[in-house]
Symmetry: D3
Subunit: 127 residues, 6 copies
């Protein structure tokens, strides 16, 4: 596992490539409460997402499936749906993930997840 500045810098780059709004969004969220959380999250991305073991598209599938299965994390899910769209996943592919999660985490988690996806898609008028 490599150098620390490196891992945070690397994670910051990964998050910025997914969506330039990610860092300002995290900074605004944690401002005055837990400002070091942005670096903790960037460090996690630098440690894990930067690993060569899975391509970024597949990492995004894993993240969307995992958060959808939790059922309780709609704001986080919205941010990652935007990341996935920016990375090139289609709306239909994202919806497929959530339909499949229904079998493992139940219909309510899937339905609420699809409602979040629909809301994000409606704000995403570039595609």
């Amino acid at each position: 596992m490599p150098d620390v500045d490196d891992r945070i810098a690397r994670g910051r780059d990964i998050l910025a490539a997914l969506n330039p709004d990610n860092e300002p969004m995290l900074d605004a969220l944690f401002e005055g409460v837990a400002p070091d959380m942005t670096a903790m999250i960037q460090g996690f991305f630098g440690d894990v997402y930067a690993r060569p073991g899975l391509p970024m598209r597949e990492r995004m599938l894993v993240t969307l499936a995992a958060i959808a299965a939790l059922g309780h994390a709609q704001p986080q899910l919205a941010a990652h749906i935007r990341n996935a769209l920016n990375l090139g996943l289609t709306r239909q592919e994202i919806a497929e993930i959530f339909m499949q999660v229904a079998g493992y985490a139940g219909f309510p988690a899937a339905i609420n997840t699809l409602a979040t996806a629909k809301q994000v898609f409606s704000q995403d008028t570039n595609r």
Copy 2:
């Protein structure tokens, strides 16, 4: 539950292609308790996994990530790790999924998931 219809037949084929042991394992599990569950699960596979929206490899990533995030479903996870190995995912790719899930569902879910993976890998001497 009606006669075996197209969706159940299609799901049975998908599950058998992943692992010929899936159907006898499910039948043995539900025998004398809930024998119709095998067809319900096959029907879900026939409805969802058969859809063209995501390739099977990516559906397997979604399933492993979703079950790992639940945290409580180690026996189910073991069966799907075997399916994933049969489909051609490498041990390292499967481990990457679970390391990444740590960020979304926490270290305990990831650690216990990796313990299950290790156990399955040790029984899987063909690879």
Copy 3:
């Protein structure tokens, strides 16, 4: 997903009997995101709720208890509270379910569930 088959037709009838708004609500929710989800949910109702093993009133108790225990599915819970009222469960019976769930899923799940129930009851001026 194949043509509407017996199980989907049966599930649609069950959902419509519980609340004629169920199908348009599901269709509106999934429109443009995952339109096949309505049939998947109807198929589940056709497979499970149509079984003779438990009367509909008891199936509704099971559903309300299960969703309440999840803790994260308030919109789904609201829809099923309306179904339960239409089926003849009293407000007091519904509240009893959620009070009891407190012991198994904790006070926060029960409190938020009761807040959802209160909101549904206040919109349900026919009873």
Copy 4:
């Protein structure tokens, strides 16, 4: 915790009527760790299960559905499956509950729950 009061006595009676083994099982479980937990649980039963709002059979359905949806509580579930059998629920009715929970908490929770049920049924040779 105060002297055994009415609610604890009432809950003890309810638990003993469901299964005379409940109190010794709880006492053995908590001995040397948290002996007051038995009274806390009995008090919960005395507060909630004793309420007239739902008959005991329906309270048992609620409990089995809620614990099944949690996914992680197989030992507790086994104890309540025994209580349910003693109360007169049939094996088929208990299995129906868990099949239905699949739609709300996912297949893994339902499958593991049915495995627990099968184990309890196999030890229950009186019926």
Copy 5:
């Protein structure tokens, strides 16, 4: 539910010492739905929080950590963050709890929890 007994009176006092708004808030929440829930919650506080085994500050840490880990209980969490501030926990200490929970329940639970904390802190202009 019996007459207000010692445990309920004791729990009411503990909750009122944490925040005089707790009882009216609970009463308003449960009014017309499940009015006995206020006493059930007070009884739980009287049974558990009144025990000498842990000081109140440490009980508050336990409660905040447990609710944060659930991920789905933001309204409950907000009430307990207010209780914690009234008890003398600093904003920084409360944020530390939630940052640490990230490792056990994942970033989404921690992020949403910190968003709730930020909102409560912004309404809490006395400190």
Copy 6:
């Protein structure tokens, strides 16, 4: 957030101070599956547990409460109960945490947690 080698080294020291068995246990667990996980966990401890915001005793309370609330992480919980005992928490204090968690995550999570605690206590014959 400081230098990387520093954070892993610092986390390793913290974990070793809690229990010299922690690092070999983690290494053995992840050997051949995900060997970098040990450093990821140590890095988390170096980032979070090393922060001055909460004393180690209080961090241990937070960790035990959070893992107990998850309900599904008994092996992780056992390791942290050992850490807590080594740090000087008494058996009674640990049991108090889990009794209190019952109110937030339900009786099943608390009961299974106390069963794990009992097992750890019985292996811990030095105290």
